[in-house]
Symmetry: C2
Subunit: 358 residues, 2 copies
């Protein structure tokens, strides 16, 4: 055998052509199969490929095709996100599945520092990807600038206020919050508080808005407890502070399950029972809701579905079929940005009961 066991250098299409006794063009055609190639040279090529161990060089192919079959999945604050936000995992999985189906490679880029931001900018501009999916972008995000400037097809999850015409996938946080608040009202609660997390994001603002709408004249601004992030610990601290200040609340709407779980533990540590003394509802339908004791009534949010939709939306833009894709969906507009809204629903569990008679 003349083939060394450990080929030092990777084989090129040239090697295959020489080995098979055909031209480079034929080998290329064999791979991209647009044109016909005779069965004789076909088998010769196949043997040659096996013999020299050829694998197409994607970098070279990308260069000439101006196409990478790759979509970036950009996520900020990986530390908190991956450990505290259960949605991100679902979105990632959904997007990955959908892209995989359409033969795109998802590459997940994490941004954790200014240095990262800069490198990711380069990466995006450098022609490494055909499109991007951006989660948890914030106001004035540099990534947004890069994306608009370099005109790369992109989709946002959620909608920061300044997405310059970039499509986004979201849920109707207002309607969802209204319906979970209604759940509390329906069983007779009136002193309902909200642990309002993430008020620096659209989601946080909208959830508070939905709550306010549902409460109507019952709304007591003193029972709005802002908390920093959607995290367990902030929920814990927030609930402690709230109940200290307003011990007469009979129900709490926490704007994420993690916050709700933290609140639930705080409530229990104060010697109160759930739901007999205080009802608690969350938002997300994440593992936080089912691992709590009791399990939490919450809003189901289709994280995987959002990932799927974001992937489809990005690919549609890449392939120039965005309008057809968006047509049959629930489309809204925020400024110049089109958005697709996905449906949510209440998941009743065991953390809600009527208030005790005073």
């Amino acid at each position: 055998m003349s083939t060394p066991a450990h080929p030092k250098k990777r084989a090129t299409i040239h090697d295959v052509a020489r080995e098979a006794g055909v031209s480079r063009g034929t080998v290329s055609r064999y791979f991209n199969g647009d044109s016909y190639v005779s069965t004789s040279s076909r088998s010769a090529i196949e043997q040659a490929i096996a013999k020299v161990g050829y694998v197409p060089n994607t970098a070279a192919r990308n260069l000439v095709r101006q196409r990478t079959q790759t979509v970036a999945f950009i996520v900020h604050e990986p530390a908190s996100l991956f450990t505290e936000d259960p949605n991100i995992g679902g979105i990632l999985v959904g997007a990955n599945n959908e892209l995989s189906e359409r033969d795109y490679q998802l590459v997940c880029l994490v941004i954790d520092s200014a240095r990262d931001t800069h490198r990711v900018e380069q990466y995006l501009r450098g022609g490494f990807v055909d499109g991007a999916i951006v989660v948890s972008a914030r106001m004035g995000d540099p990534v947004t600038r890069v994306i608009t400037e370099s005109r790369i097809p992109a989709t946002y999850i959620g909608h920061p206020p300044d997405l310059a015409g970039i499509p986004f996938i979201g849920i109707d946080n207002i309607t969802a919050s209204r319906s979970i608040t209604q759940e509390l009202l329906d069983v007779g609660h009136e002193n309902i508080a909200i642990l309002a997390a993430g008020l620096d994001r659209d989601s946080g603002v909208d959830r508070l808005e939905g709550f306010s709408q549902a409460m109507g004249p019952l709304l007591n601004r003193g029972l709005i407890q802002p908390v920093e992030t959607y995290s367990y610990s902030d929920g814990y601290d927030g609930a402690l502070e709230l109940l200290h200040r307003a011990p007469d609340v009979t129900a709490i709407f926490a704007t994420s399950d993690a916050v709700a779980a933290g609140a639930a533990n705080a409530i229990k540590r104060l010697g109160l029972r759930i739901p007999q003394d205080v009802s608690v509802v969350g938002f997300d339908d994440s593992v936080w809701a089912t691992r709590s004791d009791p399990e939490l009534t919450t809003i189901h949010q289709p994280s995987r579905g959002m990932g799927t939709a974001a992937a489809q939306c990005t690919v549609a833009q890449i392939e120039g079929t965005f309008d057809e894709w968006a047509a049959p969906r629930r489309l809204i507009h925020l400024g110049s940005a089109p958005g697709i809204m996905l449906d949510t629903y209440v998941v009743p569990r065991n953390s809600v009961a009527p208030p005790r008679p005073q």
Copy 2:
């Protein structure tokens, strides 16, 4: 102004050269700055760049350099990993930071199906990355084959039995488990059970081994409760089954904090108190340990440090300095694979107490 507001096509180095009145070579030198370039043409180039809005095309650069400054971070089973395994997040962040520091871009590839496996194979072979970090690889993993065949520098987190000479980063699960078990023995426990998760992985096997070693003659095989995964729910179910079968256990070693948290909730639901009736210890020192009530005594595992080490190890291989890098570290060998062991330690919290006198 002759520059259109929306340039249709991206500028190339050629455009810059023409605009600046120099040659492509000079512009290239300007960017890669090895050789000198006169201040006059330097400023001319800078102006030209700004004018035409030039950004280097990384794909072309990679093609000629045969270098991408990119390292893949490959993860399987994203669904369970990202939501249930808190380590992965830390490892990812650690690796990302370290790579960022050394000017490598980390791209995270998730494998969630056979289709994914194949595409990632192509991606790896296609010259998209200079190296790889692989987490949670299993026995007979196709990725392992690809990596060895295409000889791309790689590092594993943990050590599947069949890593063909590929370096890995790990912790000494045996020693760690021995020391946390000892914690239980020291306060007088004898009927100690183990919820042994992940016995299909090296980590699971080693943790059970450490437990067995520490127990010595006290080991009661009936108190070894195997559970499928390192998850909360498996811990819950496992503890229920265990305590049903063996109500006289006074302490439980759960081989992950998530398992421990699940076990803790099961124990409480049975009306038992922690630690008065049953002591519980975990493994990982993740958020699961601190969010439990009471907070769990556990083993601290340096997830970020593992990510950092894996990144360094991969880069060292890429740059051919592996030996120097490994020299001052705690190096072991598994077959032909060199491994670096990172230190762990016990974190005492509130979930351990002496057994009640019978």
